[in-house]
């Protein structure tokens, strides 16, 4: 079956625990053992305190919609989700922000607002790759 989305590439070695976690429906984040702050994307030096002692933990999957856009066309040849779709910047409750899509809501700027609570939904693309998407918290069931 043809994929609706481009696969993440390249998967970099420092991000392996992130993608391994998603495959098991877990949102894993790196955290600094020195300052205890989580961060994203994965890297080998803490961007907050610059220590090199990094651990991984399972995030709650809860957060808020920090900002959003609504795409009315495809901006990326390999992305075949039918527009309009919601491009989302999520702020996880552990602190880090990441890019995703907001699903389970009508793509209407009157119905979507910054800071609305969201929760992760795991979207399996292939046996190897699962993506974290988000939906309104407690909604879209």
């Amino acid at each position: 079956m043809e994929l609706e989305r481009p696969l993440p590439q390249p998967i970099t070695p420092e991000a392996k625990p992130y993608w391994d976690g998603l495959r098991e429906q877990k949102l894993m984040l790196p955290r600094c053992r020195s300052c205890r702050r989580a961060f994203f994307y994965p890297r080998v030096v803490c961007p907050h305190c610059h220590a090199s002692d990094i651990e991984w933990f399972q995030a709650s999957g809860r957060g808020k919609l920090f900002s959003f856009e609504i795409g009315y066309q495809s901006f990326n040849k390999a992305f075949k989700v039918k527009p309009p779709f919601v491009l989302a910047m999520i702020e996880l409750e552990e602190g880090p922000r990441l890019m995703s899509n907001l699903i389970g809501i009508e793509p209407d700027p009157k119905k979507i607002h910054c800071d609305m609570p969201v929760e992760v939904v795991f979207e399996k693309l292939t046996d190897e790759i699962t993506l974290p998407l988000f939906r309104p918290a407690g909604g879209a069931r």
Binding site: P8, F68, E69, F75, M99
Partner: protein, 381 residues
Amino acid sequence: MKELRNSVCIVGVEESDELGTLPHKSQLTLHVEAIRNAVRDAGLKISDVDGIFTAGQHSPATIGEALGIVPRYVDGTTVGGCSFIIMVGHALVALHHGLCDVAVVCHGESGRSQVGVTPRRDTAIPGQYEAPFGFGGASTMFGMITTRHMHEHGTTLEQWAQVAVSTRQWAALNPKAKNREPITIADVLNSRLVCYPFNLLNICLVTDAGGAVVLTRADRAKDCAKKPVYVRGAGEATEHVSLTQMRNLTFSEATRKSGDKALVMAGVDYKDFNHIMLYDAFTSGPPIMLESLGFCKPGEGVSFFEQGRSTPGGSLPINTNGGGLSYTHSGMYGIFPIIEATRQLRGECGARQVPKCRVSLVNGMGGMLSAAGTLVLSNEK
């Protein structure tokens, strides 16, 4: 840097022979045309150039080779569209220390026709964490900043649209501008929806264009063809590349830092400017840049774009060439605001000339407010 104030001048500026949709010209041709034209504007020869400063797909070595010269100083700092603004500061230092005598900051990009360009490829961060969700291109990123600004400050789509209207009024007066017919706020709001919160007329043009700026030390500038424009202040900074890493999504720390450095070096205050050039890839950019620079409080930047302020005849003209929104935007726009500020300070702008233009601010961003460069330019010491 204060001791370098006014030590270097812009002595030549020019675009490529043509701007717009140019499928008959390669990116390298646009670049070389711009350099030839700017060197001619300065009353110099290409063989006088011994410093090359360029960003993007062409390395300074490529340009040196194309010109058939052996530059003794090169800089290829590529941090987005503002790289050329930042490089004026780099050229200033190199010229001041005698590392070169005639510096050219230059750009050529076949942004629309893609003739002779290297195909773009996602690198690890956007390819891994952004592309799978449909991100691609600047409008899918800068909108995040814009939507959040509307949430935090109550800015409206009508206020962003006013930026496009003001800028188009200037474009109407610039024979080189691509889009010159007047537009209204309603025209902006009714143009094609591309990516909320942006309609088509909130987004810059995509053109083929080149531009170049020639600099030399003030002592030598006296012998050039045109009236020298002094580089009074220069500043730069970078903050992030990925938008998720920007500390405050509606305030650019890089812009603030670059502006503070340039204004302190120049010894000027906000009220001293009578002309401003801001990098307008999107209508929301210039107001947020003014806020980040400190011209006003966060949320108040849109007020600068009201009729009678930024517009022709207004109290503080902004983007008088018609901007990336209406004049030209090849992809890395940063060379063009420097060209326009220089022309305004020389008094060469005809119908769009700002009266008594003495001190001009040029501020540009790289990426999504990721990097920033600021210049204070003046026609007097």
